[in-house]
Structure formats: C-alpha cells, structure tokens
Symmetry: C2
Subunit: 354 residues, 2 copies
C-alpha cells in the first residue's frame, strides 16, 4: 500500500504538508497543493482509515443492530439507513441479534472496540439497562422502531394508534367478532399493537374476548396456530394480524379451513410490504414508512456525530413519531352493505383450497 510518505517523497514535500493539502481545510500554498494532489493521484494514494481513525477518534462507521434482516421490514429500514449514511460518507456494519440480548451486548462491545461513531438499535428486546448505559457512555445512540421513554433519540410509529385505527376500520365496516393474531408480547411493539386493538374495542363498546387474542411468538407457527384456532371454535368475522407475514399465513389458513377472504373473514395486516398489493386478495394493511424511518434515524445519528446539534433543544433526546396510513385493499369488505359483493358460488369458494 502506498502511504503518505510515498506521496511526500514524490511531491517533494513533508508528510505533514501532504496531510494538510489533502485535508482541504488547512491553508497550503496553491502550487504545493497542486503538486501534492498530482502525486497522490499518480500513486493512487488511499489514506489508511485505521491510522486516521486512531488519530482522530472517529471512523466514519455506524453500527446497525437489527433482530433479523430476514424479517421483511428490516431490508427497507436498513436501506434507509445505508443510503443516508453513504451520502454523508459513512459506512454501515450490520448485526443480527435474533432478539437475543446477550448477542446484542456482544455486538455492542465489538462495535465499541472498532470505534464506530454511533449505533442505531432497531431491536425491540426485553431489556434496556445496557442501552441507557451505552448512551451515558457518550456514544451516540438512536433507537429505531422502539423507544425508551424520552431518554434516548428514537424514530418510531405510534403502534397503539395505528392498530386502533385498523381495528376501528373493521368495526366501522360492520365486523363484530375480531380476532387478533399477534407476535411476542415480550416485545414492546406487539404489546402496543395489542393495546390499540383493545382500545378500539373499548371505544366501540365491544367486549374483549380473550379467546380471540392469539400470541404467536414465532412467525413460522402462525399457519398451524390459526388452523387449530379455526378448527376449535366458531370463526371470527375478521382477523387483525400484527404483521404482513403473519397476515399472509392467516389468509392461507383461513382459505385452507374452507373460508373465503374477505367474504367470510376479513384480514388486515401491518407493514404494507412490497408484496401486499399482489397477494390474493390484495392485502388491506397499515403502512409504515420503513425506508423513511431508517433514513431519519441515520440523519439524526449523523447530526449527533458531527455535533451539529448545538442549541439545548437540539441536544436533548428527540423522539420522532412518523405517520402510518391504513391502506384499504381487497382483503377486507364492508359488512354494513348487505348485498354481498362476493357472495356467489359459495360452496366452490369454500371448497377450492380445502
């Protein structure tokens, strides 16, 4: 590798001058600057980022910790982070934890050793002590998806309200027996969505029926659990699934049990993944601005790192709550309209996937 000394030799100046000329912000005689730039180009000089980082105490690297990049919300989130980071010259280290706090802590330690300039945490884990500790150590931390009161910067959606709106929509369109298929209640975001579901019921004076609330911690079990649920008791008239991947499995289970979507059972999801409009039927779901959330988290992170936050308000932790939107497609129907739109050929519809 060619070093700063090689450039210095070729340009006929000292290493200090090369460093200054290349930095751009320290005054150097125009003619020497040109000589240095020419030599650097000629030798294809690439400054050693480790030496630079060691000296400056910063590396232009951001850690991004997610539960699992295979959960389809995270690719979009991480593109939001990475695109924004890249535009400002930062690079992203990706870490999957599977919501295992010990892996999360292991990664945090490793990232600190590598002197990342900050850590974006998109896990919704069960513990938080290590996070406030991390923040108090002075390293910039931004939470994504999850918040920790108002003590740490965060970018989130209002899961409670988004879920309430979705369920309120079902109620408004005539559904009365609404099941909720939910994820691990150990994770804040699923608890919040459950609270929203309860709130919508309460606001409409509907009683909460605990037998209609399914907690399914592992997405892969969703299909089986819903099949058993449908086999064991009278069907609900709607299912609110706490994520699109769960909604997909719910729809499959509903159809395989001999019911039609949305004729017999309406299904609503949460996420609005890219595939949602192409499912059969196209999925009604709550849209989260995933890419924008990633981008916003990265922006917040970079302004923390670069110390742009100067006023007291800017220095205080900020929680950015982004808007969700209910996207109505064809997996839900209006039950207040008694002329059934999809009602013909009922037996076939019921049987075709059974």
């Amino acid at each position: 590798m060619v070093t700063i000394k090689d450039v210095a030799r070729v340009a006929g100046v000292s290493a200090s001058t090369v460093s200054r000329a290349l930095s751009g912000r320290i005054p150097v005689e125009e003619s020497t600057r040109r000589k240095v730039l020419k030599a650097a180009k000629e030798l294809n000089y690439q400054p050693n980022a480790l030496a630079k980082g060691l000296k400056e105490g910063r590396t232009g690297t951001i850690g991004l910790i997610v539960p699992n990049i295979c959960n389809p919300v995270f690719p979009l989130v991480s593109r939001g982070v990475e695109d924004t980071a890249r535009k400002s010259g930062y690079t992203v280290i990706l870490c999957n934890t599977d919501e295992d706090v010990s892996i999360e802590m292991e990664y945090i330690q490793k990232l600190r050793k590598k002197w990342v300039d900050g850590i974006i945490l998109a896990t919704s884990g069960k513990q938080s002590g290590h996070i406030t500790e991390l923040k108090d150590s002075g390293l910039p931390v931004v939470l994504l998806i999850r918040r920790l009161e108002d003590r740490v910067d965060a970018v989130v959606v209002d899961n409670n309200e988004a879920a309430r709106q979705a369920v309120a929509y079902l109620i408004r369109t005539g559904h009365r027996k609404i099941a909720m298929v939910n994820g691990d209640q150990g994770l804040t975001l699923y608890r919040e969505r459950f609270q929203g579901y309860l709130r919508a019921l309460r606001e409409s004076g509907l009683a909460f029926d605990p037998t209609l609330a399914l907690e399914i911690p592992i997405v892969q079990n969703c299909y089986e659990t819903v099949r058993e649920f449908l086999a064991a008791r009278p069907a609900p008239d709607a299912v609110f699934a706490a994520s699109d991947p769960m909604a997909l499995q719910v729809m499959r289970a509903v159809k395989d049990a001999g019911y039609r979507v949305p004729d017999d059972i309406s299904v609503i999801g949460f996420d609005d993944l890219e595939s949602a409009p192409f499912l059969d039927p196209p999925l009604t779901t709550v849209r989260q601005p995933l890419y924008q959330m990633g981008a916003a988290a990265a922006e917040r992170m970079i302004s923390r790192i670069e110390g742009k936050a100067t006023t007291p308000e800017e220095r205080a932790p900020s929680v950015l709550v982004m808007d969700t939107e209910l996207i109505v497609r064809k997996s839900t129907r209006d039950r207040t309209d008694e002329k059934e739109q999809y009602g013909s050929c009922e037996t076939i519809g019921k049987g075709q996937n059974g």
Copy 2:
C-alpha cells in the same frame, strides 16, 4: 477509554507483557498472567481494534456487497454470511450497489481504505475488470451468485440447469406454450436462466417463440407488463418466472386478466422464498439454498484470510456449485391428466378477481 497502559499500571507490569498475556499464544508466567487478566477485567479493558488493526494489518471485518438487500434473496444470503462470520469473530459491512458499477467501485475503494480482510461480492453486474484487478491486488475475494470463469472463488447454483429442469417439468406435465418472464439480460444469472429455458424447449423439440419471452429489468413493472402481454395475444398455458417476486406479480396479473392459476395457466417461480408455500395457490418454484450459499462463501473467505489453504489445490480458485431443487406445489398442474382437477365453476373462477 482505558488503554493497555492503564492495565499495565494496575497489574504492575509493562504494556508488552499485558499484550502478551492477553494474546494467549505467547508464553507468560502464570502468576503475571493472572494479575494481568484481573486488572483487565477490573478496568473492563477493551483493546482498541484500530490500533490492533493498524499494527497487524487485519481488522476482523469482511465487506459484503449486494445489489439490494430489499431483493428478498439477499437477507437470507447475508444471514448466512453474517452468522458464519460472527462465529469466527468477524464483523460484516453491508453495501448496496443497485447494480451500479460506479457505486460498487466506490465501495470497494472505501472497504480497502478501511482495511477489511476480504470482500464478498454478490452483485451480478455487467463489468468484471475491477474484480479481477481487486483479486490480483491480493485481497481475498469471493463471488456469490455470480462466477467469473474459474479465476475467482465463487459460490453459485447452476442457473441454466435449474431453469432447464423447471421448464422440462412443465413440458413433461403437458404444457406446450410456455412463456418466460425474465429479469435484466445484462445480468449473467438471468441470461443463464434464459439459456436453460431454451435448452429445455430444444431438448423436447419445441420451437422457441420469441413473443413468449419477456425481459423485465425492473421487478416493479412486472405486473403491468404481463397484463399487457395477456391482453395482446392468446394466453400461454404456463409461465416460468425467473424469480419468486416476479412469479407473485405474474399470478396477480394472470388472475386479474380473468385466468385461473393453475387451471388455465401454470406458474412456476425461482427462489423458494419463505412466503412461497402461503401464496394462493402455493407456488411451485426452484429452491436455491440461499442461506447455505452465504455461509459457504463466508467459510471460503475465512479460510482464505486465515491462510488455512496451504496445498496448491486449496490455494487455487474454487467454484462451489450448490444444488437446487424443484419444489412442486399447487401453482402448476398436470395437463396430461385430462380430468381437470380444478375445472368446476369455471366462469366464477375467471371472474372473481377481474
């Protein structure tokens, strides 16, 4: 941050001794070793990875360059890479290029500056000069998905053969007018899949009809293009889509055009994403061992980095071709069986999504 000097002071030895004691592999008196370990623990000493990297010329970091983590094959691939890397103590920098060679080159340069120990390249870009150049520079490089003759380590599937098998299956089950919905022909993997399609036709004595071959470089356009295709000419009896996301859009378009899957048109995909069994109908598709491919690439990379490859054969570039498997589900049917299994209620079936 606490440094090696702090530990040395507390342990009452020199920094050199601390370094040796902590390294584990250099002999140190048992009693001093214990003192050092105790002091290190007490101070929660974390060695500075930048200083270590600067001295040793390696960083325990691997670069992973993909086209777009939002293309759903890459989350699994990258988990394979990351899980394997993590087990050996490595960390992964993720880079998205959108198949833009200039972004790819920019990232390669940046990764080199950061002294990554190797680069795994999963892009299937149109140029390759910079890759052989990179490899010749001595930095370990492993290709994923794509290969470059036998000049660079690679982990791939036999796209040509996998596509041939899929199309041969369609032919064997009585399909005669088989369309192919394909991706950007500038990318090797799609060209190879197209070649496999042609080969299957040829082997069965079927003529290739160019009007049945659709090149759709941008997945998002797939639905519209297939709608137009179906509106403009008599329908094919099967569609081979070169990826599952395309297959999903094809199924939607087929149904919206008033045809049934698989009664009127069989659809076959490529990837076997997690959602494939839950689609409606469950998707027949070619399974790629995505996670294993990522893991294999990371293993190859690590053995290159750590110089385990010692015999001449081990040092030579290796191309690992992994097996694909055709997973038959319900989106294809057997046309040689003239009792149509799904044939009842034909008009409803055609109309229900139109």
